[in-house]
Every structure is written in structure tokens, then in C-alpha cells.
Amino acid sequence: MSDKKIATRESYGNALVELGAKYENVVVLDADLAAATKTGVFKKAYPERHINCGIAECNMTGIAAGLSTCGKIPFISSFAMFAAGRNFEQVRNSIGYPRLNVKIGATHAGITVGEDGASHQCNEDIALMRVIPGMVVMNPADDIEAKAAVHAAAAYEGPVYLRFGRAACPVINDRPEYHFEIGKGEVLLTGSDVTIVATGICVGAALSAAEELKAEGISAEVINICTIKPLDEKLIIESARKTGRVVTAEEHSIIGGLGSAVCETLAESGVSAPVYRIGIRDVYGESGSAAALVEKYRLDAKGLYEQVKEFLSK
């Protein structure tokens, strides 16, 4: 893990500029939040391909659907609360059902929205998007993965939900052999006592927690899951079979997100492994700094470390 920190919403904007050069049919839509979703850089580079729809996310979703039927690759950008929440039915019926080639770039996901508080902290979006048939759901862990996911989304034909954060997070995938593929998880650290399946900002925290656990003689395997749907079931089942105990970690409700997906997979796999889900435990968030919130809601390295220990001592 390097000391470099960058918010994945920044990565989203930067990757869109790269896409703009690569694909002349990529268009970016915003709902008056271009400054916050970081698509402003795309707007600057390709003003004729940036469409501001005003504060009307549902319309933006339909506009994108229409554009996609005419050969464009639209990326619609808003906060996760609106992109997945307000928009759920539009995404389901105008994008998902006709299986249109629209990419949903949802920034400001989870509690690290921070000071704006619970109204803007979407801890439900993965659940909402995961249940839509055919929707690919990706939650990148850092700058490198976020950019790779945006490129992969553009190359993929079909609807994709991309989840990005507001707060800067450490770069963990900065290595020459890094390779990204939709639907592929990655074992970042091999271990034998417990598997930590993490996504998004919790991946970096899981790696730090694993180091502390190691110092106490606990060998944790850390798996990074960027693509929550389709889930890399094989990787998770194999690891669970090996370690026999699984912890999931996500900046999302423990209901319907990665934790649920892992439980569903393991329950049908025949592997008997208890699971503990770390995440937002069926509550709303609140105002505070991102750092204070991840500490309170136990999503930082310390929170993960403690919860893994509690789980293993049961």
C-alpha cells in the first residue's frame, strides 16, 4: 500500500477523459453535480459530449437510455443516493429491462460522504442495483481499480453500475502485474485462519487489519471483490473451504450488499463456514468527518481488526 491517497470519484472523472479520447461515442451526463462527481474534467475536454440535465436524475436516466439506443455510450453521473435510489425504477425499466448500454457512475456512496449526513449517505445502492437482472455492479477499492473499472465498463456491452467514494483513500493496487477483469476477485494476501472478503474502501482497511492480526499469530486471507455482480463465487468458495471462516467488509448495509452476496454463495456451495458481515448494521448514518464516521461505524482498520477478533473468539 502506498501513501498516495485519491478519491475514486476523481479517478472516475480522469478515466472518463481517457475514454473520451478512446471512444468518440462516449457521452457524459450530469444532474447539476459535475463539480462534485468530478466529471468536470470531461466537460472541459469534450464540452460537446457533456450533457447537463439539471437537477432531474430520472429524466437523465431516460435521456441516457435514448442516447444508447442510437449508438452512444452514456455515463450518467450523480450521487449514489440519486443514481441508484431516486432512479431505481428508471434504471430497472428504462435501462435494465431493455438491457441498454448505459453506465451509471455513482459517486458519494456510503457514509464517507461525511458532513452532509444521512440524507446523502447511500448504504443501500449495491442492494438496489444487484437485484436488477443483468446489471453489473462494481465497487472499486482505489484509484487504479476505479480507472480500470471505468475502462472495462466502457468496453462491456450492457448496463453497469459503478460505485465511487467522496473521500480520498489509499492506493493499494499500484503494481506492474495488476490486471482488472469484470467478475474477477483477487486474493491480495493469502492466509489460513480466516477469509476477509472486502470491497471498496474496506479493502485497504482489511489489509491493515490483516497485518495486525498477523502480529498476533492470526493468518487472514484478504480477497478484494470489486465486481459484486457477477460475483467471483469460485474464489470465495475455495477460500472459505480453506479457512473455514469468513468475514465480509463493506461501506454499505449488511443487508443486500457484498455480505449478503457472499452468504448466498456459501449457503448454496455446500461449504460450511460461519460468516460475519461487517458494514452498516441496518441504521442510517449521520454527520461527521469521513474519518470519524468510519471509526464510529467500525469500517477502518481498527474496526475491522476488532470485529474479526470478536468473530474468531465466538
Partner: protein, 278 residues
């Protein structure tokens, strides 16, 4: 196509609607019949389409925003040659391409899946915007219900289309005045519809939805209108053509029974006979 031929075709489209809904034992005849003349004009006269090449790039696009009136769309498309008219009797049945609401995944020639009200104008505006960006010559048409425009997204889309000056977009309001729970102005009045669209920078044309001269003139005017989208408010009769369905709320989403079907077909045959003598 001259008006007489359009009238004859529309009457055949109406027979197809009634037959489809009768065989399905479910569906929405009222709003399909009210828009039958509009469907006929779009598919037989106005739109640049080719049933043999339903995805041709320069085709005009149609989005049925009021997706529950799919029987009308299906019947017009079948009569235009997109698929056999005999398929209409499979409407809403398991295994049929003719889903209860239109699906572009099932029927080549359907440009957008719809059914959930309020979303079609956005999609049509997106298509029109793509045409504007690419300087493509195609035009985009969308049909909405007068009850449907109670949905807020319609006005988000109208604001966007007006703002973007999408003069290749035509929104047609099927103003039959009735929705499931009663007259639109009693349920939650959308009136004045024309002033609302005007306020959103549309060129607005009020017509009689069953007068082909008026329909022809309106679409011609829409083509000549530059710098703004057009809204055609088509004052129609719900259930038009079937005596006992006309102006009746109850026929919004009900299928005729055997006896009613016979009367309906008889009504439409009468019209055929008169048109043959005309």
C-alpha cells in the same frame, strides 16, 4: 396515402386491437382505440421506417410512453408488415413476442421498451439529442396519455427538450380525457395542457385526433418547426369506433366478452362498409 385509405387502415387497426384484447382476455382497448388514427398515420404515412429492415440507422423512432396501449401499436405494426397480423391473437400469452407492454427485446421494430408511465418522453428526448449531436436526419415521436402527464418526469423531460431545442422531437398527447379512476380533470387535472407545454418552449398544436386532415397538417407543421420541439395535443374519444366503449372509463383496461366482442366487430364492420361505399 389518401385520407380514405388511412381511414380504412385505421379501421383494420381497430379490429386488430379488439381481436387482440379479446383473445388475451385482458389488456387496454380504450386508449388503444383512441390513438388508432395516430398510430396509423405514424406507421403508414409519417415515419421513415422499413418493416424489412427494422433497425436501419436513419429510421424515424417511436417511443410508446403510454405502454399499456400496446395493442394499438402492435396492430399498426402488424398491418404495416413488421409481423403477421395473426400474431395479434397471441397478445399477453406465455411465449408470445407481444408482451403486455412493449419490449424492444421481443419485437424488432419497437425502438424502446415501455410500460411504466412517465418515462417515454425522456427516452425519446435522448434519441432526439443523439440525432441532434450526430446531425442525423431522423425524427423521434412519442405518444403519451393525458393521465400519464401527471407523472413529474414528463415535465423534467419537457424542460430538457425545450432547453435543448430538440426540433426533431414530437410529443403527442392522446387527450381522451379519461384515466382508470375517472375523468382526468376530476382525478388530478392536467389542464391546460397546451399552456404547460408552451411554457416549456414547445410549439403546440391542438387537433382532433380522428381527423386525418388535421393530423397530416399537424405533423407537417412539426417538420417545419425549427428551434423547438412540437407537442400535438390530440383530442380523442376513448374507445373510438366501438359503440359501447366510446367515452367509457370502464373500457380502459377491460377485455370484451364473447357477446361484446361480436358487437365490437359488428360496429367496426359497419364502418368498413361505409368506407367501402365512400
Amino acid at each position: 396515402m389518401n385520407n380514405l385509405l388511412l381511414k380504412k387502415t385505421a379501421n383494420e387497426v381497430r379490429k386488430g386491437i379488439v381481436t387482440a384484447v379479446y383473445n388475451a382476455k385482458a389488456g387496454h382497448p380504450g386508449g388503444s382505440l383512441s390513438a388508432a388514427d395516430i398510430y396509423t398515420y405514424l406507421y403508414f404515412e409519417e415515419m421513415n421506417i422499413d418493416p424489412a429492415n427494422p433497425k436501419k440507422e436513419d429510421r424515424d423512432r417511436f417511443v410508446l410512453s403510454k405502454g399499456h396501449t400496446a395493442p394499438g401499436l402492435y396492430s399498426a405494426m402488424a398491418h404495416r408488415g413488421f409481423f403477421p397480423v395473426s400474431d395479434l391473437t397471441t397478445l399477453r400469452k406465455l411465449g408470445s413476442n407481444l408482451q403486455g407492454h412493449p419490449s424492444m427485446q421481443y419485437v424488432p421494430g419497437i425502438d424502446m421498451s415501455s410500460g411504466s408511465l412517465g418515462q417515454g418522453v425522456s427516452v425519446a428526448a435522448g434519441m432526439a439529442l443523439a440525432g441532434q449531436m450526430d446531425n442525423a436526419g431522423y425524427r423521434v415521436y412519442t405518444l403519451v396519455g393525458d393521465g400519464e402527464i401527471q407523472e413529474g418526469q414528463i415535465w423534467e423531460a419537457a424542460m430538457f427538450a425545450g432547453h435543448k431545442k430538440l426540433d426533431n422531437l414530437v410529443v403527442i398527447v392522446d387527450n381522451n380525457g379519461l384515466q382508470i379512476d375517472g375523468p382526468v380533470d376530476e382525478v388530478c387535472s392536467p389542464y391546460p395542457i397546451d399552456k404547460k407545454f408552451e411554457a416549456f418552449h414547445f410549439h403546440v398544436i391542438n387537433i382532433d385526433a380522428h381527423d386525418f386532415d388535421a393530423i397530416r397538417a399537424a405533423f407537417a407543421q412539426a417538420r417545419q418547426t425549427k428551434g423547438k420541439p412540437t407537442c400535438i395535443i390530440a383530442k380523442s374519444i376513448k374507445g373510438k369506433g366501438v359503440s359501447f366503449m366510446e367515452g367509457q372509463c370502464a373500457w380502459h383496461g377491460t377485455a370484451p366478452n364473447d357477446e361484446q366482442y361480436e358487437i365490437a366487430i359488428k360496429d367496426l364492420e359497419e364502418i368498413s362498409k361505409k368506407l367501402a361505399e365512400a
